[in-house]
């Protein structure tokens, strides 16, 4: 295969700068010792990171984000794993339509989902509560949980299951001791990707959040709408670092390309 020429490498360098610059500038400004927005020219300071502790609404929002992300991803998997097994194994009427329905939260604009959920939860009477936020996030992360589980279930070797059945394993034993361990990598990375999606979600959540029940991105967004100061850049920098760590772990254990591309090479 031929190599990239000098022009290509210049283009590549500029492209990488374009992609990295906004993220880098947030991380740099977060370390400013000044009281206003500036690049740290005379020394790095952690003062704005320490200031976060004085703003309980950010800390509170962080914990809510963590809980919503972790729990909604687990609930989504409880629904998605059986559905993925059914879609991977059976040919039935409406299979395509059901898959499209289950993946539809990817296609429906989140602003529309936010409005639909707000209307629904208001009529049901649970608007502005933690459970409402949780249910909404289950729906939004469901496609990610389903996709990776589906990929694992489709690629699974069924002969081990046949062996277990022939040896008299019950349905539950079969699932717990054979099927689940085999699809576990897909399930775990499905959880991780679902968690990240939930942790980042802002457009839909902004419609459902109420004071005290806000996720971190929503709190950051509402804060930025009022003013941009070094405090919110240090919060953003923390979020970037946490996401990066999760990303590296995900890449190590599963391969980022596979997670992001779904299974485009195998699915055809």
């Amino acid at each position: 295969m031929s190599r990239n020429g000098p022009l290509a490498l210049i283009f590549h360098t500029l492209f990488v700068i374009f992609m990295v610059a906004p993220i880098l500038v947030v991380c740099l400004v977060a370390f400013t010792p000044e009281g206003y927005l500036s690049l740290p020219t005379n020394g790095f300071s952690l003062r704005w990171f320490r200031t976060i502790a004085d703003y309980p609404e950010f800390i509170n929002a962080f914990w809510i984000s963590l809980w919503i992300g972790a729990v909604s991803s687990v609930i989504a998997l409880l629904f998605a794993v059986p559905a993925a097994l059914a879609i991977a194994r059976y040919q039935f009427r409406g299979r395509e339509a059901l898959s499209a329905l289950f993946l539809s939260p990817l296609m429906i604009p989140h602003v529309v989902l936010g409005i639909a959920f707000l209307r629904f939860f208001t009529l049901v009477g649970i608007s502005g509560t933690f459970p409402a936020l949780l249910i909404a996030h289950v729906i939004v992360v469901f496609p990610f949980a389903l996709r990776l589980t589906l990929a694992a279930a489709t690629g699974m070797d069924r002969s081990v299951e046949m062996a277990a059945i022939s040896l008299g394993a019950s349905n539950w034993t079969l699932f717990r001791r054979v099927t689940l361990p085999l699809i576990l990598p897909g399930v775990v990375s499905g959880w991780a990707l679902a968690f990240i999606q939930s942790f980042d979600e802002v457009t839909m959540t902004v419609f459902l959040a109420a004071p005290g029940i806000e996720t971190l991105p929503v709190r950051m967004f509402l804060y930025i709408q009022d003013n941009i100061d070094p405090l919110v850049t240090s919060v953003s920098a923390s979020v970037i670092v946490i996401t990066m760590l999760a990303l590296i772990l995900l890449d190590r254990f599963y391969g980022l390309e596979r997670v992001l591309a779904g299974h485009s090479d195998r699915g055809r």
Partner: protein, 307 residues
């Protein structure tokens, strides 16, 4: 949206056929599917239908939502040029962001694909990684870079001598387009990258051995093969840009309204929910038509590539 949104590299249609088909009865899969189906009917289909219904309700300053069926909101959107302008702006911004993402993202995917082992993975992580970083944090980065007339971007452009006077980026469509192109770029790179994986490098070598120049190879060999990837990436980028919320809100400010930010305003500030619902439903319908339509065109045009 986040953009966050959504990773739809294969447009949902890529559910693989079952490896081994179980024929132990037509009803066997349903107990497994029923919980998820019930969840989706209760919490997706019903709320969406309620939203459509809401857009036909009336709203009064003092009476709130009135449970009558009226076309008032739809007539207002149809007749008031403000809405026409807002939707035109929404789709103009999305279209420009898509074009920029294609022009920059497609060559980058090609360059990336030709890199060697450690670098390939490293830069793929750098370029796709931002996809998972909060869109608020990324947009904040652009707000800092644009930041008024003394922003870093303007300083850099003037230092290089590309411009003489600062370009206003904050609160302008230009700024929103650039930030959106950045936010959506990974989807384009990913989509073209996926298309490149199906290209046989030997074809390029064959063309080379037959005496084709670099330009000819690019135009006649590479471009036709990655075009489906560019187009399906373009659909994703366009759909997500047209429904983007956080980026237009932060960079565009309160006055530069797009569909998503206008719907948000109607819901949480004006409290005219029926009108906001109508804007949202219209956005959804427009996007579905655009996505389905362009998918059909692409599949017909590139039938041989998808086979």
């Amino acid at each position: 949206m986040s953009t966050s949104a959504s990773i739809t590299s294969e447009q949902g249609a890529a559910v693989p056929a079952p490896a081994q088909q179980d024929r132990s009865g037509a009803w066997a899969p349903w107990p497994l599917l029923l919980p998820a189906l019930a969840l989706f009917i209760a919490v997706v289909i019903v709320p969406l239908l309620m939203t459509v219904l809401l857009s036909f309700h009336n709203w009064g300053q003092y009476t709130g939502i009135e449970f009558v069926i009226t076309l008032k909101n739809w007539q207002e959107i149809w007749s008031d040029p403000y809405f026409y302008e807002m939707f035109a702006r929404t789709f103009r911004i999305a279209g420009l962001a898509t074009v920029i993402a294609a022009i920059l993202g497609a060559p980058e995917a090609y360059i990336l694909n030709r890199m060697r082992a450690p670098w390939k993975g490293f830069f793929l992580l750098i370029i796709l990684g931002p996809l998972l970083i909060s869109v608020v944090a990324r947009t904040l980065g652009w707000a800092l870079l644009f930041g008024g007339n003394s922003g870093v971007v303007n300083k850099a452009l003037m230092a290089v001598g590309l411009i003489d006077t600062p370009i206003p980026f904050m609160f302008t469509e230009t700024g929103v387009v650039i930030a959106l192109a950045h936010v959506m770029m990974p989807f384009m790179v990913l989509s073209v990258w996926a298309a490149l994986q199906r290209v046989d490098p030997q074809i390029e070598n064959a063309a080379l051995s037959l005496g084709a120049g670099q330009v000819t190879i690019m135009r006649r060999i590479i471009l036709p093969q990655i075009m489906p990837g560019v187009l399906s990436g373009g659909i994703i980028v366009f759909a997500l840009s047209a429904s983007a919320f956080a980026t237009p809100s932060i960079i565009g400010g309160r006055r530069l309204k797009v569909a998503a930010t206008l719907a948000y305003d109607e819901f949480l500030n004006t409290l005219n929910w029926p009108l906001g619902a109508a804007v949202a439903v219209l956005l959804l319908v427009a996007l579905v038509l655009i996505i389905v339509g362009s998918n059909a065109i692409i599949e017909r045009r590139y039938a041989e590539v998808f086979r």
